[in-house]
């Protein structure tokens, strides 16, 4: 939906993913949308260089989040939130499902 503005479908998906879950890493985003990893990594780098997102290293994972100092963050989030309204409900549910509380080890599902 924003591809024409952003010039990249991967970039749109990355931004929507981070807007929904507050953070994301390359393999997670690529896996969720079933898109190749290389363009996701490339676009994450571009967004980081542009100051839109920043990276937090957690162990061996590069976790990306919105840069709170990005001047257009509020407006960007509003736009992304509008775009999300047009996504299929099922995708939206999956996108927003992000278990944060810890799960006891060996607990049966």
């Amino acid at each position: 939906m924003l591809e024409v503005l952003l010039g990249s479908a991967s970039k749109e998906k990355i931004l929507l993913f981070i807007a929904s879950r507050e953070s994301g890493y390359a393999r997670q985003i690529s896996g969720f949308f079933n898109i190749p990893l290389t363009p996701v990594i490339k676009q994450l780098k571009k967004l980081e260089e542009g100051g839109v997102i920043y990276v937090e290293i957690q162990g061996r994972t590069k976790l990306y989040k919105f840069n709170p100092q990005y001047s257009f963050l509020k407006e960007l989030k509003q736009l992304l939130s509008k775009v999300l309204e047009f996504y299929p409900e099922e995708t939206l549910k999956e996108l927003k499902f992000n278990r944060k509380r810890p799960r006891r080890s060996k607990k049966p599902l």
Partner: protein, 178 residues
């Protein structure tokens, strides 16, 4: 002309600023180097962070800087005669979501430097304290405020818009009382 290796920080920044302005690239100095300048080097930063008013093509920028001896390495521009290096962080020139309009000019014998005012420099440093809890940046904001006439009311207004009253009070409590 004075050799780059013999220029002070302000002179080098002014020289670069004027050199690029002549080629249509308008830049403003921001970040840690402003703290160095406004604190008379009580804090030392090795990088000169310039923000472009309107982004020029990177290749053109590199070509212009090459003319005065700077070469690009990773995201930075280095020069063999100085330890200071140049960086062009992504714009716009802003603190939080407010554009910076209070820009002053420092005239030197090698050119004119466009630099954010001491008040904006305080806000710029406080932004890092507010958003990232960076205590070094809080100290830098205090350093600039203690060594320059700043508009405390404006810093307060901006801090409140950012919803950072508590942290603004911390900043205020650290200022010299005289």
């Amino acid at each position: 002309m004075k050799n780059i290796g013999k220029m002070s920080r302000v002179e080098l920044a002014a020289f670069i600023c004027t050199h690029l302005a002549k080629r249509g690239i308008e830049i403003t100095l921001t970040g840690g180097s402003c703290v160095s300048i406004y604190s008379e080097n009580q804090y030392s930063s090795m990088d000169l962070d310039f923000i472009e008013r309107i982004s020029a093509k990177r290749k053109f920028l590199a070509k212009c800087l090459e003319k005065i001896g700077f070469y690009e390495k990773d995201r930075y521009f280095m020069h063999p005669d100085t330890e200071l290096f140049i960086e062009f962080p992504p714009g716009p020139l802003a603190v939080g979501d407010e554009p910076i309009t209070d820009i002053i000019t420092i005239e030197t014998e090698v050119g004119d430097l466009k630099i954010i005012s001491p008040t904006e420099s305080v806000k710029d440093r406080l932004a890092a304290f507010y958003f990232w809890n960076d205590l070094q940046c809080l100290d830098q904001a205090v350093l600039v405020a203690d060594n320059n006439a700043i508009n405390v009311a404006e810093v307060k207004r901006w801090s409140l818009t950012e919803g950072e009253e508590e942290k603004f009070e911390i900043f205020l409590s650290k200022l010299k009382k005289d």
